[in-house]
Structures are given as structure tokens and as C-alpha cells.
């Protein structure tokens, strides 16, 4: 039958636009950057942008799983601040007994990861066992962590001991083969995330839960456990991001991680994951993170407009980036 062929072709064209939409936006952005500044493509600039995008990026990968399975987490930014605070306090406290060295740092990293895991588990428990809307739970814990870090820091800034900072610094500023650690870790997390999302049961079940929880349950998917796991995973990744963040400035304060949650969620959605769940892709999120990172970078590299209007341009570009995949979104 002739109708069959046309029918098959049409959806595919749409899906393609959806697929490459964010990529196209990124490419356009890179072209604009190149046109505006010669140093844009320099090794130094690219490294800067990638390394500083790594925090949001690592978190956004975790956020992709949470959103894909129909959840949301507003607490990641303050959780990161809290984790950073706990790490710094721990390391400073251990310094006298353990002495200066890698040992303290390793313990600090472990504490950071555990605190993240713990934070994610609390969110997950309240959402799955407590059956409270994710929005409310994480809005609540967002306030709680933000308060706790302010309180821990006595309103000011918690600073890592200066010598310890020196030992820890290479974790942000160092690297191998000219690729700095945050970029490497981000890449690993992204690749790992992509594999988990596409090639494991867990990823499959996240999409199923987000698409139709009832169906997933009827298909013998342990909905609670999978949902819980997405929040724990996100918590751990917040820990990982913070482990990379602390060596950068060696400090944490109430201003740390403000609005990271919004940036992470925006990256996920720009990347093509659906806010209502059911479909998610990690590589899209990575592209989304890069888009956001490069928008800021390009705005700093030029003064085409009043700096007051940076936010407006950022807003316009975010919308435009998604317009590029509009046809695709319609398909859903």
C-alpha cells in the first residue's frame, strides 16, 4: 500500500529535528562565539568553559534520570553548598590529627559523596515512602540545606585550610593529557549516564515509570525502588560535583550553588528530555549544559549590550535553542 511508506517517513523526519535540535543550537552558538572573538576557540577558553560547566553538568546528568522518571529535584544547588560545607569542616577538623596529605582529602571526598548520597536518600524517602510531591519535598529540603550551610558558616564563608587547599587544588586545576579533571569526570559521568539510560534496565525502567507508572507497576517494575534510586543517584552526583567544586575556590558559603537547580533543570529540558517524564536522553543534557555554559561565556567575551541585559539575551537564546527543536517537541 502506498500510504504505508509516507506514513513511515513522516515521523522520522520530525524525530530527526528533535534529535539534532539542541546540537544545531550549540553549533550556531559556537559559530557566533567564533565570529565575535578570536580567542573563543582557544584551548584556554574552551577548557575554562568546559571545566566550569562540569558541576552543573554532572548534576544535570543525575537530574535527567530524575526528570525522566517523572520526578523533579529543586534541592541540588543548596545540597551542593551543604555538601561543600560538610567536606570543608571535616577536612579542617581532621587536619590536626591526620596531618597534611592526600589522606585528609580522600576522607573529605568520601564524606562529600556520602553526604550527597544521604541527601538524595532523604529526598527519595520522603517522595516514595512519604508520598509527597517531589516539588514540595525538594522545595523544602532546598530551604533546609541552604539554611544549614548559612548556619554552619555562621553567615559567612567556610574556607578550606590554606595548605590543604594547595594539596586539593590539582583536582580542579590539574588533569592528564591536557584535559583537566573536571572535564574528564564530567565526560565519564556523561558517558556512564548515557549508557545507563540507554543500555540498562534501570534506564529503561526510569522511562517506563515516567511514561506510565501504573503500566510499569503492572509490568513488575519496582517503582518505588527505581524512583528512590534516581534521587540517590542524583545525590551522589551532587556529591561528585561538589568534590570537583571545593578545590576550585576552597570555600563554601550561603552563595554557593544558588540557582544551580534551575540551570540543571533547564539544561535537561533544552536537551530534549520531557519535563513530565517518559523520555530522557543524557547526551542531550550534556549539549544543554554546554549551550548554557557558552551563552554565559560569549556574553562575557563581548560587550555588544549593556551588562544589565545579559539575562535578557540569555533568555532569548534559551528559547531560541528550543525553538530549533520545536517540530520535534510537537511529536510528543
Amino acid at each position: 500500500m502506498t500510504t504505508v511508506d509516507t506514513r513511515k517517513a513522516a515521523p522520522r523526519r520530525r524525530v530527526n529535528l528533535h534529535a539534532i535540535g539542541p546540537l544545531a543550537a550549540l553549533v550556531v552558538l559556537l559559530l557566533i562565539g567564533m565570529a565575535l572573538n578570536d580567542n573563543f576557540l582557544s584551548y584556554g577558553n574552551l577548557t575554562n568553559v568546559l571545566a566550569r560547566s562540569a558541576f552543573i553538568g554532572i548534576i544535570a546528568v543525575g537530574m535527567t534520570f530524575v526528570i525522566t522518571s517523572g520526578g523533579l529535584d529543586l534541592s541540588v544547588g543548596s545540597m551542593a553548598a551543604f555538601v561543600a560545607g560538610v567536606m570543608i569542616l571535616t577536612m579542617n577538623a581532621l587536619l590536626p590529627t591526620m596531618g597534611l596529605g592526600v589522606g585528609v582529602i580522600l576522607v573529605g571526598i568520601l564524606v562529600g559523596l556520602l553526604t550527597g548520597l544521604f541527601g538524595g536518600a532523604i529526598n527519595g524517602l520522603l517522595i516514595t515512602r512519604g508520598r509527597i510531591e517531589a516539588f514540595i519535598v525538594t522545595l523544602g529540603t532546598m530551604g533546609i540545606y541552604r539554611s544549614l550551610i548559612t548556619w554552619l558558616a555562621d553567615g559567612g564563608t567556610l574556607s578550606l585550610n590554606y595548605e590543604l587547599s594547595g594539596v586539593y587544588r590539582p583536582v580542579y586545576y590539574g588533569g592528564i593529557l591536557g584535559i583537566s579533571w573536571p572535564i574528564l569526570v564530567f565526560a565519564l559521568v556523561a558517558i556512564g549516564g548515557e549508557i545507563v539510560m540507554r543500555h540498562t534496565r534501570f534506564g529503561r525502567h526510569c522511562a517506563a515509570i515516567g511514561s506510565n507508572e501504573q503500566v510499569a507497576k503492572y509490568s513488575a517494575v519496582n517503582v518505588m525502588r527505581v524512583r528512590m534510586a534516581t534521587y540517590v543517584l542524583l545525590g551522589i552526583l551532587v556529591g561528585v560535583a561538589t568534590v570537583m567544586y571545593v578545590p576550585r575556590l576552597g570555600s563554601a558559603s550561603a552563595a554557593t550553588g544558588v540557582l544551580w537547580e534551575l540551570e540543571a533543570i533547564a539544561a535537561v529540558i533544552i536537551g530534549g528530555t520531557m519535563l513530565k517524564g517518559g523520555f530522557g536522553r543524557v547526551w542531550g543534557t550534556v549539549v544543554g549544559v554546554l549551550i548554557l555554559g557558552f551563552i554565559g561565556n560569549i556574553l562575557n567575551l563581548t560587550d555588544l549590550v549593556s551588562p544589565y541585559l545579559n539575562g535578557a539575551i540569555q533568555g532569548v537564546i534559551i528559547i531560541l535553542a528550543v525553538v530549533l527543536q520545536r517540530g520535534g517537541l510537537k511529536a510528543h
Binding site: 566550569r52 548559612t150 553567615g155 552563595a255
Partner: protein, 290 residues
């Protein structure tokens, strides 16, 4: 008697210092004068601050109000109403937009803050030198400082390559400074307008390996920065004070009104001074978190 204190929340370093000094002086005074009650509220935006003041009046029957307005204009009318009801009002740092409302005014000198920094740049840089500026959160305070800074630079031949907002935030300043460094091959000095921003900027400069090329002037007098000036750090030649401890001064002066017979009114302007390696020791406070 009850004294109400309304200040911005600790959302950046300087405000954190402010919070610390406010709480410390409250604790001190409560011990010293058991008759005095204090109500401390912190606000994250002007509307919340107006609410806080309303609550203090409606439920806590305050006899005096110490307020550091988040912004001048929105707080003017509400504070005026408090003053009209006979409450003693102390305004700290940011003046209200109408004169004569407050009984006591304790403030830093924002114009001086920008001017002192600007004069230092003008004196220590040659004609044609290139600098970049990290501004604070877009606000009247920031505008005043930057205007005064620009005015002081006038005629010096110094070229300002860029002025972006670092939002009094270390991370943002780190990012902006990184991008300045990518963008401008030649930078002779940085005015970071705040010590938190200076901290972020220094890290970016260090990372780029251009520490020898430029120096940084921050502002406010953060402990770590003062220490580095004292230790003759070449990248941090000086700093300009803007002490968050002014809130403690204000609270103590207000408390004196109820504890001592001397009438307390007037204006106390705490000038912005230049911290240099020579005088740094006297600006260093070990216990302060800021």
C-alpha cells in the same frame, strides 16, 4: 525595652559579616543589659524587609528600630511610619530617600569606597594602563561606588576594558575573570569592588598563570585579604575598607539611648580607608568570620 534589628540576609560575604556582627553585639548587649530585648530579622528582599518591620511593630512592640535598608526607596515610607509612631530609628549604611526620618544614622561611605580605590589606581598606574572591573549586584550601592571610581579615574588615561557584574559572588567573579583573561591579552590591574569577588578573581588569574602581570584591589576588609596585604602579597597591594562591623556600632549606640542618660542622635559616617601593608595589622580581626 525592645530593640528591633532588620538587616539583609547573609547571601554574600559582606552581608555574612554583617549578620555575624549583628548577632555578636546582640549577644553581648543582652548579657550586659538584661533589661534590653532584641529582635533580629533578616530579609532576602525589600518586600520581606518591610514585612519584618511590620511584624516587629505589630507583635513585638519595639521601642527602637535599627535598620539596614535593603534598598533605600522601598524602605523609606515604611520606616517613616515607624518613626512617626514615636519609635527611635537608627538607619545603617544605606540612607533613606527622605532626609530627617531617622534619629541616628550610621553609615559607610560608598562614594568614598569607589573614590579611594579609583585614586589608588590613578596614582599607581601609568597613562594607557588597562584595567577590568568586577561590579557587584546591580543596585544603587554598586552604582554609587562605580560612579565614584570612574570619576576618580578621570584624566588618568587609564583604559577600562570591561565592567561586568560579579554579583559580590566568588563563583561568578571567577567565571567573569576567566573570560576577561581569555578576552584581553593585556590587563594591568583589576578592581574587584569586594573581597569575595577579589578572591574569585585571584584564583582565575593564578590559574591562567598571569599573576605577575596584574594586581587586584578588592574592598570591604575581609580577614583573609587583609592578612595577605599584611604579608606583602604583590597581587594584593591594598584594600578599601567598608566594615560590616558598622552594624554593631549602630546597635550599641541605639542601646545606649536606653542605658545611658546621654542623648544619642546624629550622623556617624565611617570613612572608607585604604588598607596598606603598613597599617594592615590594625584591620585584622582574628575572630571575625569576615
Amino acid at each position: 525595652e525592645t530593640i528591633g534589628i532588620s538587616i539583609p540576609a547573609a547571601t554574600h560575604g559582606w552581608a555574612g559579616g554583617l549578620n555575624y556582627h549583628a548577632q555578636a553585639s546582640v549577644a553581648r548587649l543582652e548579657e550586659q543589659f538584661p533589661d534590653l530585648d532584641f529582635v533580629l530579622a533578616t530579609a532576602s528582599d525589600p518586600a520581606k524587609q518591610v514585612s519584618d518591620i511590620e511584624d516587629m511593630v505589630a507583635t513585638r512592640n519595639i521601642d527602637a528600630l535599627v535598620v539596614l535598608p535593603f534598598e533605600s526607596e522601598p524602605l523609606t515610607a515604611p520606616v517613616a511610619r515607624v518613626a512617626d509612631s514615636g519609635t527611635f530609628v537608627t538607619v545603617v549604611d544605606r540612607g533613606l530617600s527622605q532626609d530627617g526620618i531617622e534619629d541616628l544614622y550610621v553609615a559607610g561611605d560608598n562614594v568614598g569606597f569607589g573614590r579611594v580605590a579609583g585614586e589608588y589606581f590613578a596614582e599607581n598606574l601609568e597613562d594607557g594602563a588597562k584595567i577590568v572591573v568586577l561590579r557587584g549586584i546591580a543596585s544603587t550601592v554598586d552604582n554609587e561606588r562605580v560612579e565614584a571610581f570612574n570619576a576618580a579615574l578621570e584624566g588618568s588615561g587609564i583604559e577600562v576594558l570591561g565592567m561586568e557584574h560579579g554579583n559580590w559572588n566568588r563563583d561568578t567573579s571567577f567565571t567573569v575573570m576567566q573570560d576577561y583573561l581569555s578576552r584581553f591579552p593585556e590587563i594591568d590591574a583589576v578592581w574587584a569592588a569586594d573581597d569575595d569577588m577579589a578572591t574569585g578573581a585571584l584564583q582565575a588569574i593564578e590559574q591562567a598563570g598571569r599573576s605577575d602581570e596584574m594586581w587586584v584591589v578588592g574592598g570591604a576588609g575581609m580577614k583573609e585579604i587583609v592578612a595577605r596585604i599584611r604579608d606583602n602579597d604583590k597581587m594584593l597591594p591594598v584594600d578599601v575598607t567598608y566594615p560590616p562591623a558598622m552594624i554593631a556600632t549602630a546597635i550599641e549606640l541605639t542601646a545606649m539611648r536606653f542605658t545611658s542618660p546621654a542623648p544619642v542622635t546624629g550622623r556617624f559616617i565611617i570613612g572608607s580607608e585604604l588598607i596598606t601593608p603598613d597599617n594592615a595589622e590594625s584591620y585584622y580581626f582574628e575572630d571575625s568570620p569576615f
